[in-house]
């Protein structure tokens, strides 16, 4: 051992020295922009594409796109910001719209304002609003989470349903279809993670309501949309038309494995759906089912996120220039990510592009993008506030009570009490 160290140490030291000096040389020439995001089939792949485009015109800038789970990105970012040291943070980070204001308000000065550089008049106004604080706009608007009902045409056909039967249905009808599908094919209608309130959020927003009102005050006990959403989830559970999932990857597995007949979620899932080439042609897309209350629509939103540049980043200038050049101006880029990944961007000019008009062979030649684009215009706008995470947990905490037959009004009161304790 001792001999090994003595003979090899100089060589190792020399190598390390050479490595360090190499690093120093390359650092002087090239800039590497580190980016955190979370979906390998979606924003990770899109960011890699964006990076490749930028490197083509700016060969001195390279990209390191790091892929984490979404919760890990959020928690790692929060830890880094709280620690006050920038070393552990990336240059650009993806933040979901629900959480944007939380970060902007909790960590003043942590994110670089882009107001002077980016022309925000070209983006969907609701996206810009989410990232505005005290007159400054932070971040580069990215994707919309307009929702759709993805369904397996082959399973539904076996159960005797045509694509027309899936258009503009109610949730009650959806449950009926689900029972029929299970009886005929043995497949569950959908995957459902009882610890994820995503479906509640989709239903609630489709009827124009949110956990919070326009002033940001909790809107729970008098929220007809939330009540109807919880009732619907209760019906789905008692009809047992779902395959339970535990966690995101488990939930994704319910449909990539072909175990369920439909998925109700944001358009960003398209990349994951299309990642199963053996399922090509078997999928169709319809507007989501509607609640049976006043103001109910077939359009909603789930998630959607935007890029933020860290103020402390050493490559801040390059990062901002990169986002502005690709995400702020490159119409062709938006056509590519739409067709390849299903990314419905929020740059308005990109929506007139040819890709939106095209039929998608994976979905059996439907003009899915045009449909999503039309739906996007109909998404009811709501105020996400800054406590969506807390409200989500309060809702999921009460879902089991709901399935055990607790009256919905009591469930709403329990949710209200839990949120009141959280928002301070």
């Amino acid at each position: 051992m001792d001999k090994l160290v003595r003979t090899h140490l100089p060589r190792i030291a020399g190598l390390a020295f050479a490595g360090a000096s190499l690093l120093a040389v390359s650092a002087a020439q090239a800039k590497e922009i580190t980016i955190w995001c979370w979906d390998p089939n979606f924003n990770v792949a899109i960011m890699k594409e964006a990076g490749a485009r930028y490197t083509k015109t700016h060969p001195d800038v390279t990209f390191n796109v790091v892929d984490f789970a979404k919760a890990d990105v959020e928690q790692k970012l929060q830890t880094g910001l709280a620690s006050g040291t920038a070393d552990a943070l990336p240059d650009i980070v993806l933040i979901e719209d629900y959480g944007a204001q939380k970060y902007l308000q909790s960590f003043p000065g942590a994110f670089a304002p882009l107001s002077g550089t980016v022309d925000y008049s070209g983006f969907a106004p609701y996206k810009v609003e989410v990232m505005t604080l005290d007159g400054q706009v932070y971040g580069m608007p990215f994707d919309s989470g307009v929702t759709g009902l993805y369904y397996r045409k082959d399973y539904l056909d076996q159960a005797g349903f045509k694509p027309e039967d899936m258009q503009n249905i109610t949730w009650d009808r959806f449950i009926e279809i689900g029972q029929e599908v299970e009886a005929k094919t043995g497949k569950k209608m959908m995957g459902l993670d009882p610890n994820d309130a995503g479906l509640v959020r989709i239903m609630m927003q489709s009827a124009g309501q949110w956990y919070f009102d326009k002033e940001g005050k909790p809107n729970i006990t008098g929220n007809a949309a939330l009540k109807a959403s919880l009732e619907t989830i209760g019906k789905i559970m008692s009809a047992n038309i779902y395959k339970p999932a535990n966690g995101w990857s488990d939930w994704v597995g319910t449909f990539t494995s072909g175990d369920v007949a439909s998925v109700v979620t944001g358009v960003w899932i398209t990349g994951t759906v299309k990642a199963q080439p053996d399922q090509a042609g078997k999928w169709g897309v319809a507007p989501i089912p509607a609640l049976s209350i006043e103001g109910a629509t077939h359009a909603s939103n789930l998630g959607g996120s935007s890029w933020y540049v860290l103020e402390s980043s050493e490559e801040k200038a390059e990062a901002i220039d990169f986002l502005n050049e690709i995400y702020g101006q490159d119409i062709d880029f938006y056509q590519t990510i739409l067709q390849d990944r299903g990314a419905v961007g929020s740059l308005l000019a990109a929506r007139g592009g040819a890709a939106y008009e095209e039929a998608d062979a994976f979905f059996g030649g439907e003009k899915v993008w045009q449909n999503f684009s039309d739906l996007l215009a109909k998404v009811p706008s709501v105020n996400y506030g800054i406590f969506t995470n807390e409200a989500d947990l309060a809702v999921t905490a009460q879902l089991p009570a709901l399935t055990q037959g607790t009256p919905v009004d009591e469930v709403l009161q329990a949710i209200d009490a839990e949120i009141a304790g959280q928002i301070q």
Partner: protein
């Protein structure tokens, strides 16, 4: 004269001694004392993220009105009250069994039971999550041998999720406690058992009347350690439930709640510090109680 010289040497030793421990003391002050005092100061502040202001006892008032905190506290105490006795008793029984010199292959058994302790908390939690999934190996085995008709919802039903956490930590920590007992059992004079056997004392009575009383100091030690461990329970729950303490907050622990308050929710560092002091107070109280109970029995 002699006295003065000795004092000189004494001072020399003193100075050198302190110099030797100074780096360690400096590190302890920096990484233990300072954070403890700082978190105490933080527990009197409130605000969002980095915008914190002095708030007096506002955080303590918030504790009383926070149903999630109450839930986390109840869960933590449930784990403590149910899991620690089961584990301690199991470890004691296993230790006595494996202490039997006539047992064939006891080295193998000892290793097997201790082995869970060397696994990473995260790794085994992830494995348990897979094993206890609706179509995981546990459910399919139980179904195959006909004990249950439909899969047990280990991860999605409040009761079963709590049970799963208890199973997991018992699996992980029983062997750890057993090792302490095995070591202590070596120190019990065999002649005591021989006498008892000659007097016709049955095995169970030997266990309760000889083994347990003689192991009392070790049992006290392991109980205190397990209490602290259970009150700080985090890794297993975090990994089994994707950090949410679900379903329905049924597995949420105080430590996980502190984590959520700091890193998942709107960051309330002050309130999180307050909750962490609740754990400090609880551990201190329970440890004191356990020492007190043990001392009473001495008389």
């Amino acid at each position: 004269m002699v006295h003065a010289r000795r004092g000189g040497i004494g001072r020399y030793y003193d100075v050198n001694g302190w110099l030797f421990v100074a780096p360690a003391l400096g590190l302890i002050a920096l990484f233990m004392v300072y954070p403890i005092l700082w978190s105490l100061w933080m527990s009197f502040q409130a605000g969002r993220g980095m915008t914190m202001k002095f708030a007096g006892f506002a955080n303590i008032v918030r504790l009383w009105n926070d149903p999630i905190f109450i839930k986390a506290l109840t869960n933590t105490m449930t784990y403590f009250v149910v899991q620690v006795p089961i584990m301690i008793l199991l470890a004691l029984i296993l230790a006595s069994l494996l202490n039997n010199p006539r047992l064939v292959g006891r080295g193998l058994f000892r290793t097997a039971i201790f082995l869970p302790c060397v696994t990473s908390l995260v790794a085994y939690s992830v494995l348990f999550k897979g094993m206890f999934a609706p179509d995981g190996i546990v459910n399919s085995t139980l179904q195959a041998i006909g004990i249950i008709a439909s899969p047990i919802p280990w991860l999605t039903h409040p009761f079963w999720a709590k049970t799963l956490v208890i199973i997991a930590i018992t699996w992980r920590w029983t062997g750890y406690n057993m090792i302490f007992y095995l070591a202590a059992l070596q120190n019990i004079d065999k002649s005591i058992y021989e006498v008892a056997r000659i007097d016709g004392v049955p095995a169970w009575a030997r266990f309760t009347h000889i083994t347990i009383p003689l192991l009392k100091p070790v049992i006290l030690f392991t109980t205190v350690i397990s209490t602290i461990g259970t009150l700080q329970l985090f890794d297993e729950v975090y990994n089994l439930t994707e950090g949410k303490g679900g379903p329905s907050n049924a597995t949420l622990t105080l430590s996980l709640y502190i984590y959520n308050l700091t890193f998942r929710f709107m960051p309330s560092f002050g309130y999180a510090a307050t909750v962490s002091y609740v754990i400090v107070v609880l551990v201190a109280l329970l440890a004191f109680l356990q020492f007190f109970l043990a001392r009473e029995r001495d008389r």
